[in-house]
């Protein structure tokens, strides 16, 4: 690993300053993603600014009934929080479906939001990757792309954002609060990650010097009946091929409120707004769920390796909504 300077700021202001004055600096939360990437020579920061010890590790009630989650709250702590489990079960389930217990104990909310893709060509310095080395090409387009994106892709990149947590956050209209020497900014999670377009190396609507301090969850009553369903190649410890975060309210056989987001299908957690629009007001039937899924997936662009994801996403959406209609069977 390339040698680097290590800074441990005493407070948020110092952390923000440390990055503003050192262009090659990176924040480190749990380090479970950054350190791996540094070992592979993909991230090569001159300075690592350790956030550990900053007072950003609490979960607080908001006056409107929402929650404010500090950026340094560990993934396991957030998943175990009784308020999260009660009000936003999909979020707790999403986090628990990710990585391993050991990794979740280290991983922070901020780091999870900004973790980078698991595309194997991104990880292999010997491969062409526009995200890692802009202009070098994309070996995934005609290579192994079974795990790759089908929505919002470009000819430059078909990588996915791998986070489970983010899918639930996107469905819940969570908002990220960021801090920099220029002040405070609020960004909806659904807008935080960028689609690749012609610049797949630019992944976040965030400047390098912006520190995530918190994530705020608004009250989402429908989320009390929600779940996260992750489909993957083994029963645990694998990234999603497709995942679904869904919340549903049904009255007299009709859908009165719905939230839907997809993971494993795009460079960002995919908020399925078109499907939500079709669901609400329609019958809580498999046909209607299927139509909503089809509408959302109509724009899919597939490759031979990942074409199955469209059918898989449809089936998973329908199954998850069906479960929520029937009061939710267990995963």
């Amino acid at each position: 690993m390339r040698p680097f300077d290590y800074v441990k700021p005493a407070d948020v202001a110092a952390a923000v300053r440390a990055v503003a004055t050192a262009p090659g600096a990176k924040f480190i939360g749990g380090g479970t993603n950054l350190v791996d990437l540094m070992r592979e020579g993909i991230e090569t920061p001159d300075t690592v600014v350790d956030l550990g010890g900053l007072p950003l590790d609490g979960v607080e009630e908001l006056p409107d009934g929402g929650l404010r989650i500090g950026a340094l709250v560990r993934n396991s702590a957030l998943a175990a929080d009784q308020r999260v489990r009660g009000r936003y079960p999909m979020l707790s389930q999403a986090i628990l479906s990710g990585a391993s217990a050991q990794l979740r104990n280290m991983a922070t909310v901020g780091g999870n939001l900004l973790q980078r893709t698991r595309c194997p060509y991104f990880y292999d310095q010997a491969a062409a990757c526009n995200k890692r080395a802009p202009g070098s090409g994309c070996d995934a387009l005609d290579g192994f792309n079974r795990g790759h994106a089908v929505l919002g892709v470009s000819e430059q990149c078909i990588a996915t954002h791998p986070s489970d947590m983010c899918v639930a956050l996107a469905a819940l209209d969570a908002v990220v609060e960021v801090e920099s020497v220029r002040g405070t900014r609020r960004i909806p999670v659904a807008d935080l990650h960028r689609l690749p377009g012609a610049t797949p190396d630019v992944e976040f609507e965030l400047a390098a010097d912006q520190l995530i301090t918190a994530v705020e969850l608004p009250p989402v009553p429908v989320a009390a009946n929600s779940r996260y369903r992750k489909v993957r190649d083994r029963a645990s410890y694998a990234f999603a091929l497709v995942s679904v975060a869904a919340a549903l309210e049904v009255r007299d056989g009709a859908v009165t409120a719905a939230r839907l987001a997809l993971g494993g299908v795009a460079a960002k957690p995919w908020r399925a707004r078109e499907a939500e629009r079709l669901l609400v007001g329609g019958p809580a039937s498999e046909e209607s769920f299927g139509r909503a899924a089809d509408a959302e997936l109509a724009a899919a662009t597939v490759r031979p390796g990942n074409a199955f994801k469209v059918a898989l996403a449809r089936a998973t959406i329908v199954a998850t909504l069906r479960d929520l209609t029937h009061g939710g069977s267990t995963a």
Binding site: P120, Y121, D124, A126, D142, V231, R234, A315, A319
Partner: protein, 753 residues
């Protein structure tokens, strides 16, 4: 007093009991030192640089940036490394010539033979500096066209040649004509992907030169091969090479051959004059250690309306590397399992510019039984017959291809017991008929089969005047309880408590043990141990026979029983300690084991007369998600005929371990080789999906416990048989659950959507 004596007399033998592993406490307390854990003053650390092209020549090397890293001692490339001798040519007379993982003479050539081949070694004061500097070595290549795509090359495969240990095919009758004439037939084409070795301990070597004396700490399955191979490559006499390998963190075949890491650690130590440790990165294991070949297979079966086979055709294509690797016995189970009058078996090979393949738990049989046993299941569907009944109708009296006798054949018993334990009669035979909520439930069976091997081995036994027994042999303890098993056998045969037995192993200074391969280590060492123990008893008895005050005076050895730490006839007798003390000897020692030629002659004779194998019946229950096609194995029963079971605890663990590895083969494991570059794309444990705990259900294993009369102590070997048949049992259960026959491993959900 009398009661106590009677209890001792009735004491059950140690063989057949559940005995804790002798190496257990050292491992759980961390006292056990693995190859990468031996401290040396002045120890340096090495890291490999891997080629990034599949084939070509290195045209330029730039090590300036690497050399500038603080702590870097040396960067070795083909431009400056001292040359090793080339790998030896294969000779049947010297089995250690089979030890080369590849024929490449690393760092003595500018040629690149596969993507990932080591092309430089960095030696530094710390592993971190070595790895970082390795990432800075810049190589320029002139690429040449490479063949790396198995699917594309497979049609051009050529027939494999026979060798004395492995047949490349068999023909009996006219299988094609019989197939064409058969009233019922299936004709299926299967594919299986490459698999990479992923033992928890990556390959690691600590190498220390002292003049021309070399000490190597190495996790290996063949100490003798490492010693002889290193002696040959570094041009020193074998006696000057000491290989220490008391603990091996898993191997499964991946530590049978000698791979680049071992050679380059020794080379780096020689070049720098420092003790050198080289631990492969996980990625380095994928790039430099071979794995299981991919395969395409055809199995065609013809049967009459009663399900009696009339034709069995099984052909395969596998790949080796162009610079190493060998055939795998993919069609071997088809030689032995079914009484078809017409049989055609043929194995074919292609050579590709990829890292050589190598042995991996049941090489050939694990994937060959997937195809054969899937096809048998499909035939049962065609016939509307229960798949166990179909197998019973085709159970042969003699070996189908050549009529040889089976030394031991208990598949009927294995199926009967397995069916009962599993509850096979609860199975509703209609596909998709069994459900549990959103899950479709399926049940499948398949036969497990693995040949029994015996290898040459020497074992020494030492008896000391304090009553201690030391068993000495360079055995390999990869975690399966090899040493514990020998201690149990020694305790029984010499009639001493196990606490009095110590096993010395894992050291090339000991009498050469068998390689740990072919599931043959325990039986091979047992044969020598029993012979050495017998010799030892003779020598002890010789000391007592003429001693005036010995109760054994004038008796005959064949009337004596070894028990209670000595030799007895009825209540008359005395302890070994008493005999040695009277004779003024502090110890006695005996060694036994066949010579190479005698061993080979006996083996060939044996193989002319008998077909020997471990076998079993695998029962699997799966749940398939109706919406997503996710497959979860929910229950497993395996009943095995492995002959004598020495340690019920470690045998159960081995059998379960093989089944777990088989679940990976069935459902999730696949090494992805990019067909454009020959590069392994998923060279990590995050992306290469070995089973995790959540994938493994309760596994119920049992055995028949009947000794094989032709094998030492009746042992048939347990290391590999239980992975065979697993792939097919899962596929057959999926077929039952969903009505879908999956022909291509692994059975990922996209194939079931």
């Amino acid at each position: 007093m009398t009661t106590k004596h009677a209890e001792v007399e009735q004491r059950a033998p140690y063989v057949g009991r559940a005995v804790d592993r002798l190496d257990g406490p050292a491992k759980v307390t961390g006292a056990a030192r693995y190859a990468a854990e031996h401290p040396y003053p002045n120890l340096a650390h090495a890291a490999l640089v891997h080629a990034t092209v599949a084939r070509g020549r290195i045209t330029a090397v730039d090590t300036a940036a690497a050399l500038a890293v603080r702590g870097v001692i040396e960067v070795l490339t083909h431009e400056n490394a001292p040359a090793m001798k080339p790998a030896p040519a294969l000779s049947m007379l010297n089995p250690s010539t089979m030890a080369s993982g590849t024929s490449v003479n690393y760092l003595a050539t500018d040629e690149v033979h596969w993507n990932g081949q080591p092309v430089a070694v960095v030696v530094a004061e710390t592993p971190e500096a070595a790895r970082y500097a390795a990432s800075l070595v810049r190589l320029t290549y002139q690429e040449s066209p490479a063949e790396v795509d198995f699917a594309a090359a497979e049609p051009n495969a050529v027939p494999q040649k026979n060798n004395p240990l492995q047949s490349a095919g068999a023909d009996k009758g006219d299988a094609n004509a019989a197939l064409a004439a058969a009233p019922v037939r299936v004709d299926l084409r299967f594919t299986t992907p490459p698999h990479s070795h992923n033992a928890i301990e990556p390959h690691a070597t600590t190498a220390v030169w002292d003049g021309d004396d070399l000490t190597v700490h190495e996790g290996t399955q063949n100490i003798a091969w490492v010693r002889q191979h290193l002696a040959q490559r570094f041009d020193v006499p074998a006696r000057r090479v000491r290989v220490l390998s008391p603990y091996v963190g898993g191997a499964f075949g991946g530590k049978t051959m000698i791979w680049a890491g071992t050679l380059l650690a020794v080379l780096a130590a020689r070049a720098t004059g420092r003790p050198v440790r080289l631990v492969l990165t996980r990625e380095g294991v994928f790039h430099t250690v071979g794995g299981r070949t991919p395969s395409t297979q055809r199995v065609a079966l013809g049967a009459d309306a009663d399900g009696r086979l009339t034709a069995l055709i099984h052909t395969s294509v596998a790949r080796t590397g162009r610079v190493g690797g060998g055939p795998e016995q993919i069609t071997s189970a088809s030689r032995h399992l079914y009484a078809a009058p017409n049989i055609h078996l043929r194995q074919n090979l292609v050579q590709l510019d990829l890292v050589a393949n190598t042995v991996m738990r049941a090489p050939g049989e694990s994937i060959g039984t997937f195809a054969l046993e899937s096809a048998m299941d499909e035939l049962a569907w065609e016939l509307g017959l229960d798949p166990i009944e179909l197998r019973m109708r085709n159970e042969p009296a003699n070996n189908p291809v050549d009529g040889k006798r089976f030394a031991h054949r208990m598949l009927r018993e294995a199926y009967a017991l397995g069916a009962e334990r599993f509850g096979w009669k609860e199975r509703d035979p209609r596909p998709g008929a069994m459900r549990d909520g959103r899950w479709l439930v399926g049940m499948g069976v398949a036969t497990a089969y693995h040949p029994a091997w015996q290898l040459p081995a020497k074992v020494g036994v030492r008896l000391t005047a304090d009553g201690t027994v030391v068993v000495r042999s360079s055995l390999h303890e990869m975690g399966m309880g090899a040493a514990t098993a020998q201690a149990q056998i020694a305790a029984d045969t010499l009639g001493v408590p196990m606490e009095a037995v110590r096993v010395e192993y894992g050291d090339s200074d000991l009498p050469p043990g068998p390689g740990a391969g072919g599931s043959g280590q325990t039986a091979s060492a047992a044969a020598a141990l029993l012979a050495a123990s017998h010799k030892l008893k003779r020598s002890v008895f010789a000391l007592a026979r003429h001693a005036p005050d010995s109760p054994l005076r004038g008796r005959r050895l064949d009337r004596l029983e070894a028990r209670d730490g000595g030799l007895y006839e009825g209540s008359a007798g005395e302890t070994y300690a008493a005999i040695l003390t009277r004779a003024g000897r502090d110890h006695l020692e005996a060694e036994a084991g066949p010579g190479m030629l005698g061993f080979a002659a006996k083996m060939l004779r044996d193989r002319r007369n008998w077909v020997k194998a471990a076998s079993g019946a695998q029962f699997c229950e799966v749940r398939v998600d109706q919406d997503t096609g996710e497959v979860r194995v929910s229950r497993w029963v395996g009943v095995f005929d492995v002959g004598t079971v020495i340690n019920t605890k470690t045998v159960a663990a081995q059998l379960r371990g093989g089944i777990v590895m088989g679940l990976g083969l069935a459902l999730s494991e696949e090494t992805l080789v990019d067909r454009r570059t020959g590069r392994v794309v998923n060279a990590s444990l995050a992306e290469n999906h070995v089973p995790v705990h959540a994938d493994v259900p309760r596994i119920d294993v049992d055995w028949l416990g009947d000794p094989d009369p032709t094998m030492p102590l009746g042992l048939l070997g347990v290391g590999e048989v239980s992975i065979t048949g697993v792939g097919a049992a899962v596929a057959n259960a999926v077929r039952h659950a969903t009505g879908r026959r999956i022909l291509d491993l692994p059975i990922t959900l996209d194939k079931l959507l």
